[in-house]
């Protein structure tokens, strides 16, 4: 469990993001390891949003079910999160909102609105809150001061000074009246780290993997990847296009890919549905494309701004007809960066669609990470050398490994034909059964090479566990923390995390999971999609899957509670979370 967990709540449009961004920067620069999870409603103003910031000296992998500090920018935030406070927890609130009496909870009232008005405008309430939070964590004003200067500098001197005055008022108020109501952070060795969210990690990975063309239609929660790439597109020589719909987005990417550049599309469930036919086209036309699908719960519109892992079956099966594909689901932002690079390379190497599954929890959560290792980034151009190819060029030449040398449009002397029909080696439409068979077999010969690419499930925890968890994607963090808690209580536990779901690493999965006595999958869906995949691909039967399907992130406590329901309380009594 992290040293301190802070929940920051308020209405949409109240400036919560500004406070949280500044606070995260402040803590990151002080050297802390952070995990900040965002919980927001599908609305632009009002409602109730919150951000949970876990602070520690070591990496934090999963959101927490409880908070040590609640910073409530409005009355509703105080009411909603009071019961989540740990013993001795602190509530920071506006003095205008009279708090209820709750045993074991300390309240720190700050006249946020009054201080803001004194500084010149109600909008400065955010700065008051920032100053007060810093004081509760016993962080001095110097860092806050510097940060506000940096952040508001471009808005002019007046904005800077007024924000600083407001922050100082909040800071001073805590120091003066609530000196005993603080929760100081233990100092850490300072180190330069990145403060990065999953969307940036995926975007950065795609760009490091040679992305040249990205097209998408905005859809939460995938839009933040598109935003990040677009913001840096000009500098990196990438073309970014907002398409009229997801159908256009994927087809645009395929055209660009045929012209020889690396392409990606970003979308979420419903948008992916619309791309289905285009993905099938990528399959038969053997056109590389990376599809980042950022999952949200529900069929149709579901819960647009919430998290879930319901699209594994979809990614494994989307598109009519049969064709090979890769499906990846990284567990952390760091893994997402390297997986995105890997995805860009593999799409090009095998000329197949590659899925990168993330979820709202991954893309919207901030973490502190050491800089990615640029030396680990291997960029290889898989386009063929025309001088080494026989004349005339055949786009779909039958090769032993199933991969046909690919030339871009515009190659002197070559006619490059991409076709959505069953086709001959040169791309010409055909219905000849012999050629059809040969082409289908050629495409599936790629699977042999694809299966040999890196992508084995990883193992974490005890070597000979009594309890084993299996998960994919972002369930990793909570499962890992649950495994730590179980081992901490003397119950030997371990977990397998699947980053690659297709081609499924059956041999490695069997090696890790066969004959495990108590085995459960942990997933953000109702039906246990990994459990069924495991059974189908390996014959391994798992117990009742631990599933969360209410749109909220899985926590370690959630997993342990479900295990108690299945196996009885007794064994888990000593597990502390």
């Amino acid at each position: 469990m992290p040293q301190t967990t802070l929940t920051l709540g308020g209405m949409a449009g109240q400036g919560l993001v500004t406070v949280s961004d500044l606070l995260l920067k402040l803590l990151a620069r002080a050297g802390y390891r952070l995990l900040a999870t965002q919980d927001y409603m599908s609305r632009v103003r009002g409602g109730h949003n919150f951000i949970q910031i876990c602070i520690d000296a070591d990496p934090v992998f999963a959101p927490q079910p409880a908070a040590d500090i609640l910073a409530a920018l409005d009355r509703r935030s105080m009411d909603e999160h009071l019961r989540e406070l740990t013993a001795g927890g602190i509530v920071l609130h506006d003095s205008d909102h009279t708090p209820p009496t709750v045993n074991g909870v300390r309240f720190a009232g700050v006249p946020m609105n009054r201080f803001a008005n004194e500084a010149g405008n109600p909008v400065y309430a955010n700065a008051v809150a920032l100053g007060a939070i810093a004081a509760l964590l016993e962080i001095g004003m110097a860092g806050v001061d510097a940060l506000l200067r940096e952040h508001f500098g471009k808005k002019g001197n007046e904005a800077v000074e007024k924000n600083i005055a407001a922050a100082q008022a909040g800071h001073r108020h805590i120091a003066r009246y609530y000196a005993e109501t603080t929760r100081p952070l233990q100092p850490v060795k300072q180190k330069t780290r990145m403060l990065i969210n999953g969307a940036q990690a995926i975007g950065l990975g795609m760009m490091a993997g040679g992305l040249r063309f990205v097209s998408a239609y905005p859809m939460s929660p995938s839009t933040s990847i598109f935003n990040y790439v677009t913001a840096n597109a000009a500098e990196l020589g990438i073309l970014s296009e907002q398409a009229e719909d997801e159908i256009a987005a994927v087809n645009m990417a395929l055209g660009a890919s045929a012209a020889g550049v690396r392409t990606a599309v970003t979308t979420s469930g419903g948008g992916l549905d619309l791309m289905a036919e285009g993905i099938s086209l990528a399959g038969i036309a053997e056109t590389p494309v990376v599809i980042a699908n950022i999952m949200r719960p529900g069929p149709a519109t579901g819960l647009p701004t919430r998290t879930g892992q319901e699209d594994l079956d979809l990614a494994l099966n989307i598109g009519h007809g049969e064709f090979p594909r890769f499906v990846f689901a990284p567990g952390t932002a760091e893994e997402a960066f390297y997986t995105a690079i890997h995805a860009m390379n593999l799409a090009d190497k095998y000329q197949v669609p590659v899925f990168l599954l993330g979820d709202q929890q991954l893309v919207d959560s901030y973490v502190t990470l050491d800089r990615f290792n640029a030396a680990r980034v291997r960029f290889k151009n898989y386009l063929a050398d025309p001088a080494k190819l026989p004349d005339p060029y055949k786009r779909y030449s039958l090769t032993p490994n199933g991969v046909s040398p690919r030339l871009p449009y515009g190659t002197p002397g070559a006619r490059v034909m991409y076709d959505s029909h069953l086709h001959e080696e040169d791309g010409h439409i055909t219905e000849d059964p012999g050629i059809v068979r040969a082409m289908v077999e050629k495409r599936f010969r790629k699977l042999k090479g694809m299966a040999k690419e890196p992508g084995a499930p990883t193992w974490y925890g005890a070597k000979k566990p009594l309890i084993t968890l299996a998960c994919w994607g972002t369930a990793y963090g909570a499962a890992r923390e649950a495994v730590d808690a179980l081992n901490g209580a003397g119950i030997k536990a371990g977990m397998a995390h699947f980053n690659r779901l297709a081609p499924f690493p059956s041999g490695e999965a069997r090696a890790l999971l066969a004959k495990k006595e108590t085995l459960h999958t942990v997933e953000g869906n109702f039906t246990g999609q990994l459990a069924r995949l495991l059974a189908r691909e390996t014959g391994i039967r798992t117990g009742v899957p631990v599933t969360r399907y209410d749109g909220r992130p899985i926590t370690a406590r959630f997993i342990i509670d479900r295990l108690k329901e299945v196996h009885g309380n007794g064994k888990f009594k000593r597990v502390s979370l």
């Binding site: 159908i247 087809n251 990417a253 012209a259 006619r415 490059v416 439409i429």
Partner: protein, 283 residues
């Protein structure tokens, strides 16, 4: 006829004898030959339908994609390598029906490419259902009491959206079509050429004779720069159908605006120093 043109495909073409597609194919070959293009410099893109088979029967680069989805991959390919001459050649069902949304936004996007729509006012490949441009009253198996929907007017829509080049031809007018394609390729933006074309198998209303009785060539008195006059011409249909350049509205295309003089995307390399720079900013 330029029998020795570099674009000529000699194999079998799976079109009905007498289909207007043959003539449109000849026009495309002619226009490319006259423009001095090399096959490798040209990309022909299509969706699905009888007309959409054309890229298979033309010796250029090709992308024969999905029904209704010819324009998006054409955009992707053109922006990835803007040195390519991109021609999109597909039918009325494909471009105006299934792909109607892309048609609208492709004109708004104004990418430098030529769209040739083989408009026979009927679905050919699926055997004779109404298309978006079928005239009211046309009876088919799926419209047994006749079409009641108002026909889509591609020219009027394109003019309303400010397309830089809007023209109409008739498949039999091979030279006119070739001439219009030539002008379209030079227009510096998105060009629409709607080519009326009989469907000898399924359209018993709009036959060769039907078109020939109505089609006439616009003379020098028509000013294609005049938007309202162009619109009036776009609505001429039942008695007289104008052929030629209906509307001209030169404006910078997408590539000129977004990419300019820069290298094509396909010639650009990954710069790891810039990636490192992005990481340094995440602090």
């Amino acid at each position: 006829m330029e029998n020795s043109n570099a674009f000529r495909y000699e194999g079998e073409k799976a079109w009905c004898p007498g289909c207007g597609d043959f003539a449109i194919l000849s026009s495309v070959e002619k226009a490319l030959t006259r423009a001095g293009k090399k096959p490798e410099e040209v990309l022909t893109v299509s969706g699905i339908g009888q007309a959409a088979k054309l890229p298979h029967y033309l010796k250029t680069n090709g992308f024969n994609g999905l029904h209704g989805r010819a324009l998006p991959p054409a955009f992707g390919a053109k922006t990835a390598n803007h040195r390519l001459t991109v021609i999109v050649t597909s039918g009325d069902g494909d471009v105006y029906g299934e792909g109607g949304n892309h048609f609208i936004h492709a004109i708004r996007r104004n990418t430098e490419m030529t769209l040739i729509v083989h408009n026979n006012q009927v679905y050919g490949l699926t055997k004779g259902q109404a298309s978006p441009t079928s005239d009211k009253g046309m009876k088919t198996k799926l419209q047994p009491d006749g079409v009641i929907l108002t026909p889509f007017n591609p020219l009027a829509v394109a003019i309303a959206l400010g397309a830089p080049f809007v023209a109409r031809s008739f498949s039999k007018e091979i030279d006119l079509t070739a001439e219009l394609i030539g002008q379209a390729m030079e227009c510096g933006g998105f060009a629409l050429i709607d080519v009326l074309q009989p469907c000898v198998s399924f359209n018993k209303v709009n036959t060769y004779q039907w078109y020939q009785q109505r089609a006439y060539r616009l003379g020098p008195e028509h000013d294609p720069a005049d938007r309202m006059k162009a619109l009036a011409k776009a609505f001429e249909w039942d008695e007289k159908i104008p052929l030629g350049v209906i509307y001209k509205n030169p404006r910078p295309g997408y590539v000129a605006t977004v990419i300019g003089d820069a290298k094509p995307l396909v010639e650009r390399d990954v710069d790891m120093e810039k990636i490192k720079g992005l990481m340094a900013r995440l602090y």
